[in-house]
């Protein structure tokens, strides 16, 4: 029998039409293709081709920005799955969470989402801490630091709006305490200094039914309107804003010449 040189299986797969149609580059096993893969792969094109050694040293970067982004993805995926089970109404919100706890086997969806959210707040702070300690906000990255501060704020607001959704005692009282502050907003809160300036012919325009807190809650107290409002903010508005700013944040990291150091 004539012996033919058999190609290794990996080679056969990588040479197939199917493989080549999905990946636009050969396997990254030599220097040339390790460069090519970064340039031609959609998911990898966020990265540069090469990077200063310091930029990948864990003891320098703490990896906290990356961890935060990963947690953002975890929150998105578990959040979408939770939306399958959850209805934001007074009738159903609490019962749906109960069912999620008691009726789903191996259900740790809510745990992953909640602990991931807590962890995300912590990792954002640690990321900011590292960026500060290494002076990475200094020119040319001033503006990216500003974007980062807005992202920090959005992370807190995401967590805050999500806190209400289980509709238990913990939820509504934490949100009540948190949103009571809005009552005292200068000029725009009905218990804030200066709100009397907005009165026409002795009739006050800023009341408990028209002030900043009412705008936030959609009512005079944390009720069904608030639940709906926070649900929409939590699942749509803030994630979209965060995703938009994340894109800018990452793009600026690339354009400003890496994560830190002068250009």
């Amino acid at each position: 029998m004539p012996t033919t040189e058999k190609e290794p299986l990996g080679e056969i797969i990588r040479e197939s039409q199917l493989w080549k149609s999905v990946f636009r580059h050969p396997a990254p096993i030599d220097r040339r293709n390790r460069v090519v893969v970064m340039l031609t792969n959609f998911f990898l094109h966020l990265h540069p081709v090469s990077i200063k050694k310091q930029g990948i040293a864990l003891s320098y970067t703490w990896c906290m920005g990356g961890v935060t982004f990963f947690l953002f993805l975890v929150e998105t995926i578990t959040g979408v799955l939770l939306m399958f089970y959850y209805r934001p109404t007074l009738e159903w919100a609490y019962n749906d969470i109960l069912a999620l706890r008691d009726a789903t086997s191996l259900g740790i969806l809510r745990e992953l989402h909640r602990w991931g959210a807590h962890a995300m707040v912590i990792t954002v702070w640690l990321h900011m801490y590292r960026v500060f300690l290494t002076g990475s906000y200094k020119p040319p990255r001033e503006f990216n630091w500003v974007v980062g501060v807005v992202l920090l704020l959005l992370t807190l607001l995401l967590s805050f709006t999500g806190y209400l959704l289980p509709w238990d005692q913990l939820a509504i009282w934490a949100i009540t305490v948190g949103s009571n502050m809005a009552r005292a907003t200068p000029f725009l809160g009905h218990e804030g200094p200066g709100h009397q300036l907005f009165s026409v012919a002795g009739i006050e325009m800023i009341t408990s039914g028209s002030d900043a807190r009412f705008g936030l809650l959609g009512a005079r107290f944390v009720g069904e309107e608030t639940l709906n409002r926070f649900y929409v903010l939590h699942c749509i508005a803030i994630p979209l804003a965060a995703a938009f700013l994340l894109a800018i944040h990452f793009w600026r990291v690339r354009k400003d010449g890496g994560i830190s150091g002068p250009l």
Binding site: K52, G66, I108, E111, L112, Y129, A174, P186, F221
Partner: protein, 446 residues
């Protein structure tokens, strides 16, 4: 007493495995020291410490007998409770955290030594384990939503140590005329495989951590929401507890709206105010003392320690309780805080507060209020308007010259706003001062 015993029996298996983890930590450290650093004596020492965990503490805890499970000695618990409870507790806690961090900063060359840091970690974890047998401590520290904050404290401790250690190393090198260690890593490497694989491993590790956390600790779910049953204490989510703590010293319009806005604006302004070109892209402390200290004061002293205070020590009626104290909702703290205007008119001049006659016009009322509160208004204006120019011509002269008028004014006002919190705290503790300016007629209390 009976429930206390039941609690210890219930928590004993957890503590048994906790001490096993502590043993493993020290064993890994000992192996690292022996194998990679060739420090045999140190390796034996930490192995012995680990031996105490696995041969003494863990079996005692696993025995499950309430009297055997190791717990924090009573005199330490009593001392901690006595020091940290009540209004004095806030003074002791805040002063201790401020002095402690100052001490850590000044002695940073000592504290970044690996064996000092490692001893600190061991002591902190041991104290945590020993305290867990106390029912009151456990019910707060092990509350599912508080677990992340316990984690935050340890993570911040670790990363502060790491950042400081690298900064100290770089500062030492700078003194010898060497570039920072980061500059040694200036050569470039390919992102595939070096970075891509690191990211992949990070993601896998993190997924594992989340899964274990999710399986081990159930997300809290309390009774269904009820607007008529107010829990005592009512707490904001943990990351806003620093703001809630400010409510003790400021009215909601300051603590909940103005100061948080100033914090956000101040953070955004940092890159435009810090004109120091050094320390760009490497850890250093001595090359940027001012910005480093300002940030650490705001972040560690004012933000993080207040969150820890609000989470672990603030109990019913927003009273401060010792870490091992029972949260008694009936405990009453006498509050007799007075306004500055009362101090001035009643205590100093022995006259009643100026009061507008009933039915006075708006203008007349405003004049009376101005007369009543003139001292507080003058002090506040002096603080915000007079201090910046004084700072510019004295201690911050060099800053003013470098920064120019607008940037200096922004920086000095942000700093004054930040310092207004500790100033108000100290005034409250020393003079029982309630408001510097009290104009309840217009909801304008400061």
């Amino acid at each position: 007493m009976h429930s206390e015993l039941k609690h210890i029996t219930a928590v004993a298996p957890f503590l048994g495995s906790f001490y096993v983890v502590l043993f493993l930590l020290n064993a890994v450290m000992a192996y690292y020291l022996w194998h990679y650093r060739h420090k045999t004596a140190a390796a034996i020492f930490w192995m012995l410490i680990g031996g105490v965990y696995i041969c003494v503490l863990s079996p005692l805890a696993l025995s499950g007998h309430a009297s055997m499970v190791p717990s924090m000695p009573e005199f330490i618990r009593n001392a901690a409770d006595r020091a940290l409870q009540g209004t004095m507790g806030a003074v002791v806690y805040s002063s201790a955290s401020f002095l402690g961090l100052t001490f850590l900063y000044l002695g940073r060359r000592f504290f970044v030594k690996w064996w000092v840091a490692w001893s600190g970690l061991n002591l902190a974890l041991l104290a945590l384990g020993l305290s867990m047998t106390n029912q009151n401590f456990y019910s707060i520290a092990a509350k599912p939503d508080n677990v992340p904050i316990v984690g935050l404290v340890f993570l911040l401790g670790f990363f502060t140590w790491l950042g400081t250690a690298k900064a100290v190393e770089n500062d030492d090198r700078a003194e010898r005329g060497l570039p920072p260690t980061e500059k040694d890593d200036d050569e470039k490497v390919l992102v595939w495989p070096d970075l891509v694989y690191t990211e992949l491993i990070c993601m896998i590790v993190l997924t594992a951590v989340l899964l274990v956390w999710g399986i081990g600790l159930k997300a809290p779910l309390e009774e269904p929401a009820s607007r008529v049953k107010t829990p005592n204490p009512s707490k904001a989510p943990w990351y806003f507890l620093g703001l809630q703590e400010m409510l003790v010293y400021y009215d909601p319009w300051m603590a909940g709206v103005v100061l948080p806005s100033v914090v956000v604006l101040g953070l955004m302004a940092i890159p435009y105010l810090d004109f120091n070109p050094r320390g760009n892209g490497y850890y250093t402390i001595s090359q940027r003392q001012f910005s480093y200290l300002t940030f650490q004061f705001g972040f560690l002293v004012l933000w993080v320690t207040l969150i820890v205070l609000g989470t672990f020590l603030r109990g019913p009626n927003w009273n401060i309780f010792g870490p091992y104290e029972y949260w008694d909702p009936h405990k009453v703290e006498a509050l007799n805080n007075v306004n500055l205007s009362q101090m001035f008119w009643e205590n100093l001049l022995h006259r009643p507060l100026p009061k507008a006659p009933t039915g006075a016009s708006g203008g007349a009322m405003a004049l009376v209020i101005l007369e009543r509160e003139w001292l507080g208004i003058a002090l506040t204006l002096g603080y915000l308007v007079l201090l910046p120019p004084i700072m510019a011509t004295t201690v911050f002269r060099r800053f003013f010259v470098k920064m120019g008028f607008i940037r200096f004014m922004l920086m000095s006002n942000l700093m004054l706003m930040m310092m207004s919190l500790p100033i108000k705290m100290v005034l409250r503790w020393t003079f029982n001062l309630k408001y510097i300016i009290a104009i309840p007629e217009f909801f304008l209390n400061l």
